[in-house]
């Protein structure tokens, strides 16, 4: 009797949806909600093996140090440059490749997409060895053709950081191009045709039709680029083979979290960095949602 009741309940339409979403709810609680609460708690503690102590704001006070400021500066600068390049450039390229006059669309799309298939580790290997210090390495060879002396690319921030940006550009250009292309394909052809009748040129059509109509896709690409920019770590880790670039020129917020939390085993301090990053992410998301929401309503 009891068994039948349970069975009936299991199959009733009231319970069924909960059965389906149960794995998510469990995973959300265990592997998201609990860690988020836990990281806030840890950030007020000194966490040593077998000895956890409440130390108030000490971890946060220690955050005010030049290395952490450098990590913040690097992460934010990286994010801003990536946003400034990896949104407008692929957007314009998508409009060009989408035009009827373009030939070899599939070929170019595939070619630009290839780097997205390589892992960051392989990409990092390629870039580290292409921007090696010797005169024979690819980058120095190319500038040598213009009569320039070899550069120690990854030793100075003025060249190392651009290489990092180039690596990300290389890996992401194809994917972002495809995002914008998929957005362009949902714009009705008639809008462009009527613009043609009004004598609008390519630039005007881009600015007054494609750009505003791509708004939802742009918002999405913006979101994932902010996310990727703020949480960047592996690119830098690979380019400088380890979490230790000269003068910390490639140290990011996540890199600093990894250094303090794992390499130095100072988990409370690492947690404070995590909380900081969490706050930044939430603020940026809120601002972005507000702005894009306003645009959609307008």
């Amino acid at each position: 009797m009891q068994q039948i009741r349970i069975k009936k309940m299991f199959f009733s339409r009231k319970t069924v949806p909960y059965v389906f979403i149960f794995p998510f709810v469990l995973s959300f609680g265990l592997f998201f909600l609990y860690p988020v609460v836990s990281i806030v708690q840890m950030s007020f503690q000194s966490v040593l093996p077998g000895k956890v102590e409440f130390i108030g704001l000490e971890n946060y006070r220690q955050l005010l140090n030049p290395t952490f400021f450098k990590a913040i500066k690097n992460s934010l600068l990286y994010m801003i440059i990536i946003l400034a390049i990896l949104i407008p450039v692929p957007m314009v390229l998508a409009c060009i490749i989408n035009s009827k006059k373009m030939v070899g669309k599939t070929l170019f799309k595939s070619a630009l997409f290839i780097p997205a298939l390589t892992s960051v580790v392989v990409a990092g290997t390629i870039f580290r060895l292409s921007f090696a210090e010797t005169a024979g390495a690819l980058a120095n060879h190319i500038i040598g053709l213009f009569g320039m002396a070899p550069i120690k690319w990854l030793r100075n921030a003025s060249t190392g950081f651009p290489v990092l940006i180039f690596l990300s550009f290389w890996r992401w250009i194809g994917i972002n191009l495809l995002y914008f292309l998929s957005g362009l394909q949902s714009i009705p052809e008639e809008i462009y045709e009527s613009a043609d009748l009004d004598g609008a040129g390519a630039v005007k059509k881009f600015w007054y039709i494609s750009r505003p109509m791509l708004q939802p896709i742009t918002t999405y690409v913006l979101t994932i680029t902010i996310y990727g920019g703020l949480s960047m770590f592996t690119e830098s880790y690979m380019l400088w083979s380890g979490n230790k670039s000269p003068n910390d020129m490639g140290l990011t917020i996540v890199g600093y979290l990894y250094r303090t939390g794992w390499e130095q085993n100072n988990m409370g301090f690492g947690a404070a960095i995590g909380v900081f990053l969490l706050a930044v992410t939430l603020i940026l998301n809120a601002v972005q949602l507000k702005i894009s929401g306003r645009r959609e309503n307008a």
Partner: protein
């Protein structure tokens, strides 16, 4: 009249040539580093240490020795390869199936707190996982899952992006379609397994590739969880070879090429699903 048309046509073709040229240059810049990697993999380690990667085709020093070392030597490369393959396959299958079921629950039923739970999916999408890795690491230690593949896979099985993607996909299926099955005596679970799962095949293919790429290339979390040398994944293993004093450049370069070749082949075969899967988040509304 005719003159202006031909003039316009010529102008158009010049623009077309410029556009093609622009993309050709860009494509060369993008592909060139990969070409250098492939060329470098045929050169001896000392050559790479002394000159780095470049496009010099010097056939007097190029040979297959690196690949011979890779395939016949005693490096851990294929152990890493198998580890990565195992993690990728298990994680992809599990997360696609579970996310599909969760998405079905969200898309096809009305229930209290549905909005709240679904906003949890969106919340996870917005917050970088790196933030919570410290407590997650402690949790995995407590669960005794440290240094196991389960520890790598388990926390990310109910993945928000596949759930969101499948949810959008299932929204396109009319609920009356399900009522017909209910009248025929199908249970709610039967509907999911017999009707919905087959319908979702194309969405599964796209998300399978998306999730597969993520698992295959995943770096930071496996780096934290996996400790023993024989459990490392391919990206972590390769990264250990890239040290300034490395004498393992033969394995590193030949191994990098060998790591991307299977993905290139899959890409050429299933291009449509790759593009759909890797740009899946863009499908909105």
């Amino acid at each position: 009249m005719r003159k202006t048309i031909s003039k316009r046509k010529r102008k158009v073709s010049i623009i077309a040539i410029i556009m093609v040229l622009l993309f050709a240059i860009l494509a060369i810049i993008i592909i060139f580093p990969v070409v250098c990697l492939v060329i470098g993999a045929f050169k001896p380690s000392q050559e790479i240490i002394r000159f780095g990667l470049n496009a010099n085709l010097d056939f007097s020093i190029m040979n297959f020795q690196n690949y011979i070392n890779l395939f016949t030597g005693d490096s851990d490369y294929f152990k890493w390869f198998i580890n990565s393959l195992t993690i990728t396959i298990v994680q992809t299958l599990l997360s696609i199936f579970i996310s599909g079921a969760v998405a079905y629950g969200f898309a096809m039923y009305e229930f209290p707190l549905k909005k709240l739970f679904f906003s949890c999916v969106l919340l996870i999408m917005m917050i970088p996982t790196e933030i919570i890795m410290l407590p997650l690491y402690k949790e995995i230690i407590n669960f005794k899952l440290i240094d196991t593949f389960a520890g790598v896979i388990l926390p990310f099985i109910a993945a928000p992006i596949p759930i969101f993607f499948f949810h959008q996909f299932l929204k396109g299926i009319s609920p009356t379609f399900l009522d017909a099955a209910r009248i025929d005596g199908c249970t709610e679970y039967g509907i999911f397994f017999k009707i919905i799962l087959p319908l979702m095949a194309p969405a599964f293919a796209s998300m399978g590739i998306y999730q597969g790429m993520i698992s295959w290339n995943n770096f930071l979390w496996p780096l934290i969880v996996l400790k023993s040398a024989d459990k490392l994944t391919l990206p972590i293993g390769l990264s250990t070879l890239l040290t300034p004093y490395s004498s393992n450049y033969d394995i590193l370069l030949a191994g990098s090429v060998t790591a991307i070749v299977p993905i290139f082949i899959l890409f050429l075969l299933f291009q449509r699903y790759f593009i759909a899967g890797m740009t899946a988040g863009g499908v909105k509304g």
